[in-house]
Structures are given as structure tokens and as C-alpha cells.
Symmetry: C2
Subunit: 394 residues, 2 copies
């Protein structure tokens, strides 16, 4: 198998993209990645589109084919990859396999979602289509609901409070204000979160103990990368960012069937696979982009990925260790919490951020000594998790 | 890159599967393929699910994760692949890349669709979500409508009549009657098609010149294969069926933008790629499973794949050359016309049939001297086509 590297990255602004349809969003991100790679688009032989909801929310299918035509990539091969909110990283994994196999040299992976064209409850209902249809969905279980139940258990077991959740939100909003692509550009304070009526919706929490500022927004957006064999990157005068390892693991569909619902086994296993393939340990990681669709998930993923011991992330939050300026920055992009969560785009956007950081192109949010980045893309409620390790190769 | 072979195959009956939901359908096909392979299911490291419409028709997403849990394949990696009606062959291609890369040894690819739970017009509307949203869909263009327009042009250009279309339908129904998995088990006659009121719907054609018997049915069903490195097949005492080549090509989204709307460039190119990778020419093919969602498509694909010259398929039909007993059997399974077309399953079902034929397990429809099989899975209206060449390796 060949080493696979990232030749180019691109993103749309994440937010309300009212004038763009799903194909526009995918096209914009793709063109930016192609431009960044400095490649003639005729070189692109295969396309992977990550998307979860075009059928349900946009009443459109076969969007990979539509994209290929719209940005003149015909006759490249084109498929759509869906793995719930982890569609993005799954698509990158498949792009990596396509290049690693030797069959394809230049592959475009682009994730995108157009979610804000549907009303708020429909967006929540759409995401809930990943829950178990008979054991969860029909009882009205939503992702915020699952996250609330999970948060109660996790906080009790490991001694977390709402103050710790708020620290995650404050950090990620602060980081997001340094990220021109981020959706929510808003500084928030501990008082604002814990004491303000604006932290609840219609005078009630989103899902106890999670309030408004514990939840990511509903976002439109796209993100793209160009993959190629590592030995080809130098031709383009680019720094080499290798996809050094990937991991993917599934777990029970329902939370209720897990022996310990606070144990995110798929996160642990996906990260372990990624570390092994990359030949590293968690101690080698310089920074991570974690899937903080809810603040509790940043905490739980940081502790299941091996970056921190269980229950120890709170100390890192309190000590500022996971700030951009800290020892191990977590979500320098602002994470899903601030950058936003166009579901199909998120896993790709995480890799875009990691690539920028590893290249030293992180702008105002650039971290120091970025050598190895981890991304965790959390599908379902932890029932299909994809982890990627990216490494700068000098 | 490693050679990849098919270790096991399995299918559900195609038809009305009223008691099964989409996960049941995928599960049944998968279990049959695992049983046929004779493999311990714990060996399966990755799953690709081919599906187009679970979001729209079944209001369910992330079905690959649900399947992994339902048939106890945790923690295998699991993704869904969507490429319109060519989702099945796209998923097989991605399974092949996963094995060829060296990262995965045993991969389950399963396609399935649950379509009959929605009313007839909704099934047609669902498939129409692959058309161009502004140039086609909003004007009420459907797939039968596109096929009708295409048929008029193709028949005029190459001298085909409705009698030739009927010969395709009659052959494929006859073959389907020998296939226990086929949906429509009904002998039809030239008189019945050309003269009977039953050949039209509500006293009118489906889409001139296509009548009822020119169109595939709306079908529920699933089909699955187990892929592995070729060198591992002998451990299981199985005949070796190699995925010798694949090809995939995209074309313009709309028919109207093609210089010659009768020229299915993506079929020609996908087949050419597959032949080149397999190191063969069209003259080496023993039989083919073509994507006859409409009778005209069997004719057009046979002539764009290089198996026949343009306009020459009618002679083969008239001479019986493409019957099961003929020189070059086309659609021995009964094709989409008789076996049915659960869209996500079709490309996988074509490979199941090709594998059975190459193993000599075709039962009453077994063809003679099956050495190399071609499958053509036609996505969109020819805007994303995947071709596969399967070869028996002695």
C-alpha cells in the first residue's frame, strides 16, 4: 500500500448559505481545494462526496454525479458516502483506500450539507433518522436527548459539572472567533452561560443538563481535500501532510444495549487502530479536532481517545492546557460548537483544519509545534466512529 | 495492488417483502452470503451497504451501522455508498479497493432497497430525485419519461421497432422464470405485449414508445457478496471468481446537454476501463448482466459496451444469440425486467448472478462455457455508470 497525503484543502464559510443549494456548496469547497492543490482539475480521477441528508432535506440523490458535471470533472468516477455525522471521515477513509490501492492518483473528497432550508424541528428530526427506528425514534428520542442522558451519566460517574461543560463552550467559541470559516462568531462567558436566560430555549434546557450553549448550531457548509500519493506532493511545491493512520469502529445501535453507556468503545477502538497504523501513541499527538456536537462529547472523546485519563479532562480545562496556547490544543478551529456542524462536511472540515495547522497556515489560531493531529468524527451516538491521524512529513 | 475475489454470494427473494424492513432485507442477504462463503462472521472487517433511498422512503439513515449491529458484525467498519441506481456496483468497487489496498481482507458488500412501502407515484418520484433539480425535476421529468425520449431517438437512429423491445422483455421474462429469486415470474408473448390492453397502464403507454412490459417493476430486495484477497479463496474450498476489472465514468447530468443524446459515453468508457484492467477485449466476454430498467437500455448498453456494433443487437435478438442457450447470453438472471430493480441492490445482484454462472451454479438457467462475465450498472440516466468484469480462475 502507498502512503497517501493531502495535496489541497478548501472550505466554504460555515453558516447560513441561503443563496446556495447543496451542489453549489459542494462545488465551492471543491474548487477551493483544487485551487489550493494547484492541480489541473482534469487530473482528478475519482470523487467521494460525504453527505447524510440531501435525500431527506433537499429531495435530491446522486449528488456526486451532479457535482462531477457541475464543476467539469467528467468523466471522473463519483460516489456518495454516508455514515451519519461521520460521513466526512468515512469519505476520506475511502479516498485514502482508493489512492493506497494504486488504482487512483488524484482523488477529491468533499463533504457538504444544506440543512437550514428546513425548519428547526425538521433538522432535528432529520438527524434522529440515525437512531434505532423501533427502540428510539418512535419514542421521540433525538440526538440532543441522547446527549443529555449520556451527559447525566458521564458527569455523575466522573465528577463533571455544568461549569466544565461551559468551559468547553467558552474555549471553542473563543477559538472560533479566530477562524474566518466558523459559523458562530460570538464570545461567551461563564456568567452568560450559567446565569443567563439566553442559555435556555423557551425557558427550558435543550436536554438536561445541556443548555443552548452546550449544543452545536444547525449549519450549511462544505469542506474538501485533494488526496494523492505522498511521493507526488513535492511536484506541487507543497508541504507534505500524510494521512498516517485511520480507524473505524461500530458499536450497538442503541445506547441502552451497551454494558456501560458511558463507555464509548468505538471511539477508543477507532483511535487505537489509527494510532497503530500511524505507528504512534496518544502521547505523540500535538492537537486534536474532536466531535463536540455537544460539549460533553469533547470531554468524553478526549478521555476515550487516550489523550487523557477518564475524569482528567477537567483538570486540563481548568489549567488551560487545551487552549490554542496550551500543551495540547483541542478544537483550535472552534469545533462543531463554533465552526458549526453541516453533518456531511464535519469530518472533512476537521481534516482541513488539521492540515492547515500542520502546514503552519492556521492564521490567528495557529498552534505551536504542530507535528501530529488527531481527528475524531462521531457517527450515530458513538455507534460508528472514524479517527484519522495526520502527520507533517518534513 | 492485490487481486480480489468473490468468496460468497447471497440474495433475498426479490419482490414484495412486506414483513421486512430495510435492515431485515440487508441482514438476510448478508447472512446468506456469509453462509455461502463459509466464513466466521467475526472475520469480516469492513461493510459497504449500497442503498439509494432509505432516507427518503424509509426515513432512516446510517443503515450500515444499524446492519453491523443487527447481524453481530461489531466492531467492523461500515459505510453506505450511494450512486443512484448504480449504488450496488459502486459499493463493490469500493469493497474491491479496500481489499486491493491491503488494509482489509474480508469485506461484506450488500445492496438493498425497500421501495414498495411507498405508493407507486412516490417510488417514481423518489427515483426522479437523481434528475437535474432545475432543468428536469421541476418540469416533471421522470426516469420512464427520459427512457421514452431516449428510446424514440435511439430506435429512429438505429432502426429498432417496438417488436425488438418486446423481444428483450420476452427473453428476460423467460429467463426470470428459471430464476427462483426473480420478482416477475410471468411468461409473456409478442401478441400479449403488442396487442393486449394489459400492456398499457390506464389505457396509455408508460412513456411512448415504452409500454408496461418495457419497464422494470418496483421491487424490494437485497443482494450481497463477500470479497477477499484471491489467494485466500482456496482455504475455503471455493472456486475462484476474480473481480478482474472495474470501470466507472460520469457524463452530463441532463440528457439535453449531450452532443448526441443517443450516445451513452459513460457506458462505453466504463466498459473500456474494465476491459483494460482485466486485460481482455469485449470478444472475450461469455455473458453479460445489463441494466435493463427499460428494454431499450439492454439494447443500447449491449451496443455501447462493445459487445455488439451499433444497430446490430436486433440481429442477435432475432437469431436467438443472446438467449441462455445462445452464443452470448444477455441477462440470464432475467435482468431488472424480470428479477426486479430494488435500486441499491441491483448492481450487487448482477454480480451475484455472474458469480453463480461462473461457478456453474446457475441451476436451470446455467449457461455453457461461462468464463468471463460483464456487468453494467447504469446510474442516473447514464450519467454515472459502473462496469465490472468477473472471471473464473482455474
Amino acid at each position: 500500500m502507498r502512503n497517501v497525503a493531502i495535496l489541497g484543502v478548501g472550505m466554504t464559510h460555515f453558516g447560513r448559505l441561503e443563496d446556495d443549494d447543496i451542489i453549489d456548496i459542494l462545488s465551492s469547497a471543491s474548487i477551493r481545494a483544487i485551487d489550493d492543490a494547484g492541480i489541473d482539475s482534469k487530473e482528478i480521477q475519482a470523487i467521494y462526496v460525504a453527505n447524510m441528508g440531501a435525500g431527506i432535506m433537499n429531495h435530491q440523490t446522486a449528488i456526486a454525479s451532479a457535482l462531477a458535471d457541475n464543476i467539469a470533472l467528467l468523466p471522473a468516477a463519483a460516489d456518495t458516502i454516508e455514515n451519519g455525522p461521520a460521513s466526512g471521515a468515512s469519505a476520506i477513509k475511502n479516498g485514502v483506500l482508493a489512492v493506497a490501492s494504486g488504482y487512483f492518483d488524484f482523488v477529491l473528497v468533499v463533504g457538504g450539507e444544506k440543512m437550514r432550508g428546513v425548519s428547526g424541528w425538521r433538522a432535528t428530526d432529520f438527524v434522529a433518522t440515525l437512531t434505532h427506528p423501533y427502540a428510539e425514534y418512535i419514542y421521540g428520542v433525538t440526538l440532543p436527548g441522547m446527549a443529555g442522558m449520556f451527559a447525566n451519566l458521564y458527569m455523575e460517574k466522573y465528577g463533571y459539572t455544568q461549569r466544565h461543560l461551559a468551559m468547553v463552550a467558552i474555549k471553542n467559541h473563543r477559538n472560533g472567533m479566530l477562524n474566518p470559516y466558523a459559523h458562530v462568531q460570538m464570545d461567551i462567558t461563564m456568567e452568560g452561560i450559567l446565569d443567563s436566560p439566553h442559555s435556555v430555549v423557551n425557558n427550558s434546557p435543550v436536554a438536561t443538563p445541556l443548555n443552548l450553549f452546550d449544543c452545536c448550531p444547525v449549519t450549511d457548509g462544505g469542506a474538501a481535500v485533494i488526496l494523492c500519493p505522498e511521493e507526488r506532493v513535492r511536484e506541487f511545491g507543497k508541504p507534505i501532510v500524510r494521512v498516517a493512520g485511520f480507524g473505524q469502529a461500530t458499536d450497538t445501535h442503541t445506547l441502552a444495549e451497551r454494558d456501560d453507556p458511558t463507555d464509548l468503545k468505538a471511539v477508543t477502538l477507532a483511535c487505537k487502530q489509527a494510532y497503530e497504523r500511524a505507528g504512534i501513541t496518544p502521547q505523540d499527538i500535538s492537537f486534536a479536532e474532536l466531535h463536540d456536537a455537544f460539549t460533553i462529547l469533547e470531554i468524553a472523546e478526549a478521555e476515550h481517545s487516550g489523550l487523557f485519563e477518564k475524569g482528567e479532562y477537567k483538570k486540563a480545562l481548568e489549567a488551560g492546557e487545551v487552549e490554542i496556547t496550551g500543551r495540547l490544543p483541542i478544537n483550535p478551529s472552534g469545533g462543531l460548537k463554533s465552526r458549526g456542524h453541516p453533518v456531511g462536511a464535519t469530518g472533512v472540515a476537521q481534516v482541513v483544519e488539521a492540515t492547515l495547522q500542520l502546514r503552519g497556515e492556521g492564521g490567528l489560531r495557529q498552534i505551536r509545534n504542530a507535528e501530529i493531529g488527531l481527528t475524531v468524527n462521531f457517527g450515530g451516538f458513538g455507534n460508528n466512529v472514524v479517527a484519522l491521524v495526520l502527520r507533517r512529513v518534513s
